[in-house]
């Protein structure tokens, strides 16, 4: 068998998180020959990240939600592998996807860590992209200090290592996701000095209808309330961190109350001392770049994220390209599983979801919409930025430089901003600063389309990961050039 044929499949799935696992299982159980590429060294994605199975072969699911669902999906995933229906490529990052003339998808692969890889290329008739997302960040004074982390990064650290990245924590930003992060820190033995939620919980009042459609979330909420009470964790609403202080690493944080627009209320500032880790989370940014590169249609979701548009079968506008999980809108793991199952079935044999599944997806989408509206990024978040606050961490571009480029040089979209200031041109390719730079570039624009175009420009990356020269040299002249 030639290497080409060996790595040709009916369905390729990118990602082995809740959405990707489900899609792979659904497709393989319908008889499709499936390949799963995932950057992780074991299945689970962000939500079901667990300690290395090479060392801990039987994880007990401590600190996890929906672990039974994971075990069920995992058993089916492993069964499909042993029946020869599923090929699993861990530690494998897809850095580019293309469509060949025949409509087949070509995935170009690079090792996520190290240098060894099973295949450099796989081909498949259908593609299900379930690439999830990462914590959305907003710059603020001191956020570049060591000890400042993404809230999800702290969660991932605990789940993967079974240890804590510090001793005394402040968790800040917005959204219900701050709760499990604080709860896991406390349960692992860390001190949570405060949880700062910028929104008012009264923001939920108009959305109780949507919330009651997903009763499981209320149960989870009660569980966190119990853990917060047990560990005496202060949950402060309408509160933001205005600054992280320290010389070579975080030592303390300044917090303050904010009004409904996120403007600091004078006289409410407070210093929380002796804090060595600060975790920020302003929702999540879906990783849509592979889908965007294939031509998938995007829209701006209720949380301001650029997400891909799909139909009731999770099909995008690109023939053969299905999308599930955070890439179609940030909505949590239960929704990601439901969407993955639908996408996998549709990719395998065009099967449509049952009415019940379609309703479940609808209910969770409504809940997600309510959540996004109740936990917006504060309108005036950039009031906190000083001239010398870094906006782009990689290229070390300051807020002052960004404002100068907008006001004096007319850089009023992220793409122009990038070419004038180098924001988003470093190692992370704008993953960290993309949302903020887009907001800062389009500030004052009254046309909603400007924002979408600006975010979309950031998601248009020729390659989805930094590459070695050898890998770049495999590109032929048909490849898009840097944009």
């Amino acid at each position: 068998m030639s290497a080409h044929e060996e790595f040709a499949f009916d369905v390729a799935v990118i990602g082995a998180g809740p959405a990707g696992l489900s899609a792979a299982v659904a497709a393989a159980e319908r008889g499709a020959k499936v390949v799963v590429c995932d950057t992780g060294t074991q299945p689970g994605g962000q939500f079901w990240r667990h300690r290395p199975e090479s060392v801990f072969p039987e994880p007990d699911g401590h600190g996890h939600h929906g672990w039974k669902t994971y075990l069920d999906l995992r058993a089916r995933f492993d069964a499909a592998i042993s029946r020869g229906l599923l090929r699993y490529l861990p530690n494998t990052q897809v850095w580019m996807t293309e469509r060949e003339d025949a409509g087949r998808f070509v995935l170009r692969l690079t090792p996520a860590t190290g240098t060894a890889i099973e295949a450099a290329t796989v081909r498949a008739a259908k593609l299900v992209s379930c690439t999830g997302g990462y914590d959305r960040q907003l710059p603020l004074p001191g956020w570049e200090l060591p000890g400042v982390m993404a809230a999800g990064g702290i969660q991932a650290f605990i789940k993967a290592n079974g240890t804590l990245p510090g001793k005394r924590f402040v968790v800040a930003g917005t959204g219900p996701f701050l709760l499990p992060v604080a709860a896991n820190i406390a349960e692992a033995g860390g001190k949570v000095v405060a949880v700062c939620e910028s929104a008012s919980l009264a923001n939920w009042l108009p959305h109780l209808g949507a919330a009651s459609g997903v009763p499981g979330k209320a149960l989870e909420g009660a569980e966190y309330a119990g853990i917060f009470a047990k560990h005496r964790i202060r949950y402060r609403t309408r509160t933001v961190v205005t600054e992280v202080l320290g010389e070579s690493s975080a030592k303390s944080v300044r917090i303050a109350k904010v009004d409904a627009d996120g403007a600091v209320i004078a006289g409410t500032e407070q210093l929380l001392e002796d804090v060595d880790v600060v975790g920020f989370g302003w929702g999540f940014t879906p990783q849509v770049e592979l889908a965007v590169a294939l031509g998938a249609t995007t829209r701006i979701d209720a949380d301001g994220s650029l997400v891909c548009v799909v139909d009731g079968q999770q099909a995008s506008n690109v023939p053969g390209l299905y999308l599930a999980g955070e890439v179609t809108g940030v909505g949590g793991a239960v929704l990601a599983v439901a969407e993955g199952l639908v996408a996998g079935a549709a990719a395998a044999n065009g099967e449509a979801p049952s009415a019940g599944t379609a309703r479940q997806i609808q209910r969770h989408r409504r809940f997600a919409g309510a959540m996004h509206r109740a936990h917006p990024v504060p309108e005036k978040w950039d009031d906190l930025l000083a001239d010398d606050t870094l906006v782009c961490r990689c290229e070390e571009v300051s807020h002052g430089e960004v404002v100068h480029a907008r006001v004096e040089l007319g850089a009023t979209d992220a793409r122009t901003m990038k070419s004038f200031t180098r924001t988003g041109m470093g190692w992370c390719q704008g993953k960290v600063c993309g949302f903020a730079v887009s907001c800062l570039s389009t500030k004052g624009a009254d046309d909603a389309g400007t924002e979408q175009a600006s975010l979309a420009a950031f998601a248009k990356r020729p390659v989805a990961a930094p590459l070695t020269l050898g890998e770049i040299s495999t590109l032929d002249s048909r490849q898009p050039q840097d944009s």
């Binding site: 000890g147 990064g153 990689c394």
Partner: protein
């Protein structure tokens, strides 16, 4: 979890340090109280873990002679050499 992970030794800037299998390079550094192991190109500022999941590239470190490896992604193994801008 009933398994006991094996004790291993890694070197941090040539200094031998005992740790256990099943942790990331970043977790081992943090466990030794090292919060930063890279210095930024322009301003010479210290950096360590930020996103924790391989997205931000803040945590780059040299592992067994290979530069620019993400400390949050790589699992330690026995005799691994970890080098960066830090005092071990």
């Amino acid at each position: 979890m009933s398994t006991t992970p094996q004790r291993i030794t890694v070197t941090l800037n040539s200094k031998p340090v005992g740790t256990e299998q099943g942790r990331s390079v970043g977790a081992v550094l943090m466990g030794e109280g090292i919060k930063a192991w890279r210095t930024t190109r322009n301003e010479g500022k210290p950096r360590g873990l930020f996103c924790g999941i391989g997205a931000c590239y803040d945590c780059l470190v040299t592992i067994d002679g290979q530069p620019n490896q993400r400390a949050c992604m790589v699992e330690v193994c026995d005799s691994m050499n970890i080098e960066g801008d830090f005092d071990a």
